[in-house]
């Protein structure tokens, strides 16, 4: 059976409709949070910190703040999309239809990317209002936004399938995503860390995501670009196969 393009478009259309029912939670909250970060680091803390690699501190920190919000938006979108479908049982509408598992997964990820791109554009507009407009490479920027959205969208799907209560939806975010993103170089360079702690950055995949986006935006790079891109593509492929297996087995979906 060929690709069900109309079905795929319907998944995306449907989830965007659902997303637009909660614009404050989906878009306004991360924009306000980013505005506060930009204000504090641009006007309160930033002027007291010397430039990093020839960049103002706000320019340095903005890609990290942006990445934090992309990761959160991707994860929340995927978990809520999958979990609410299970909780309200309307996931059964997809299960009884001639949609393939790949179409269901791609449809979910497309909505994730929609949300992260809107979130990112809003934050860039806010940053532009504060005089930060650096974007060295649009292609690389889009690569990092999409690949990180896919990784955390896939992780969100796994948690959305696994969770048996609303509380469980937050487990990964609280215990893994938030701590690793904060120690992944959002606010500091690797060189600012004590030498005995630098392994923590280089062994942390979040560091490569933030570094990749920062390199795309202001050309500040602390690690191999190929290593970062390869790691991200590898993670996406691995998680993609894992999620496909979960769908094929009906884990969390079918009785």
């Amino acid at each position: 059976m060929s690709i069900n393009w109309i079905g795929l478009a319907t998944i995306i259309r449907r989830e965007i409709t659902r997303l637009l029912r909660v614009p404050i939670q989906a878009f306004l909250a991360p924009w306000i949070s980013a505005l506060l970060f930009i204000f504090i680091f641009g006007y309160v803390v930033g002027p007291r910190i010397s430039s990093i690699g020839g960049h103002r501190y706000l320019e340095f920190v903005l890609p990290g703040v942006l990445m934090l919000n992309i990761i959160n938006a991707a994860f929340l979108q995927a978990t809520s999309q999958v979990y609410f479908g299970r909780f309200m049982r309307y996931v059964e509408e997809a299960l009884v239809s001639p949609l393939s598992y790949v179409e269901m997964i791609v449809g979910t990820l497309a909505t994730v990317v929609f949300r992260t791109v809107i979130t990112a554009v809003g934050i860039l507009v806010i940053a532009a209002c504060f005089g930060v407009t650096s974007l060295r490479s649009l292609d690389e920027f889009l690569f990092w936004v999409v690949i990180v959205s896919a990784i955390f969208g896939l992780l969100g799907i796994v948690i959305g399938l696994w969770a048996k209560s609303f509380e469980q939806l937050t487990v990964l975010n609280v215990f893994l995503i938030t701590p690793l993103s904060f120690v992944g170089g959002v606010f500091n360079t690797v060189n600012m860390l004590p030498s005995w702690l630098r392994w923590l950055a280089y062994g942390n995949p979040f560091f490569y995501f933030i570094n990749g986006l920062r390199n795309a935006m202001i050309g500040f790079n602390e690690a191999s670009e190929f290593l970062g891109a390869g790691l991200s593509l590898g993670l996406t492929a691995l998680l993609g196969v894992f999620v496909w297996r979960l769908y094929a087995k009906g884990y969390g979906l079918r009785e």
Partner: protein, 249 residues
């Protein structure tokens, strides 16, 4: 002739070990109006869930018009329309959205979808409720939305899991008339219900399931012989008809 639905030795064991369906075999001929009866917890809904993809069979084989419902699940799903017992919808969506999304999932192009939605809204008296959210609708209206959703892709096999539970007499009679028309036009219908009157009026063949197994099957006429359908049903499921129980005491 290839059966509309062919179930071979279906077994479904839930994770906690409950055997919901045990070696169940069943065949429904194309064009039939088939009554699938049994007490609560007998395995009717589980069987339907296995046929439609909501549940994974533990073992056995299911074919829909000759198409394997597990191996070729997409082709098989395209042939089935399901009106489930419980409301499995986004309760914040409107009837139009619910039916439209389902039509989209089945790959129906926008213009055709729009035309069919209007037909179904009119058919089920939902036009004036089209902008309300599902949760704002009464029980009967909700049931109509679910039926419209099941019919958007004009399925060859329509599975109705207690479609008239909680609906008023008017809708029930109207629905019976409509289902009769659909069946005359060639749609095979599998109906589960606890209203034996509904079965007497609509079905041509009947199977009774109890404790996960088919305990009796045959043409409706066979069930109506003697003390009637109720007695045949109660006898098959192991319960005693009231007048027999009264006579025994």
């Amino acid at each position: 002739m290839i059966p509309a639905l062919n179930i071979h030795n279906l077994r479904k064991v839930y994770r906690r070990g409950t055997v919901a369906v045990d070696d169940l075999s069943l065949s429904v001929e194309p064009g039939d109006f088939f009554g699938f009866l049994g007490p609560n917890g007998a395995g009717k809904s589980t069987t339907i869930h296995c046929v439609t993809g909501i549940a994974t069979p533990t073992s056995g084989k299911i074919e829909v018009f000759g198409v394997d419902a597990v191996e070729q699940y997409r082709e098989a799903r395209a042939l089935i329309g399901l009106s489930p017992q419980e409301f499995n919808v986004d309760v914040f969506a409107t009837p139009v959205q619910i039916v439209d999304w389902m039509g989209g999932y089945f790959g129906i192009a926008k213009a055709e979808r729009k035309r069919r939605i209007e037909d179904l809204l009119e058919r089920f008296d939902l036009v004036e409720h089209r902008k309300k959210t599902f949760r704002e609708l009464s029980g009967g209206l909700k049931r109509r939305v679910i039926l419209a959703r099941a019919l958007i892709h004009k399925p060859r096999l329509l599975i109705l899991d207690e479609p008239t539970a909680g609906v008023d007499v008017e809708l029930r009679i109207d629905l019976w008339r409509y289902l009769g028309e659909l069946n005359r036009d060639g749609t095979t219908i599998l109906l589960t219900t606890h209203y034996l009157e509904e079965v007497e009026r609509l079905c041509r063949n009947i199977a009774i399931v109890a404790k996960g197994k088919i305990v009796r099957r045959g043409p409706k006429a066979e069930f109506l012989e003697g003390d009637g359908l109720e007695a045949a049903y109660l006898g098959a499921t192991g319960a005693k008809p009231a007048h027999i129980a009264a006579g025994a005491s």
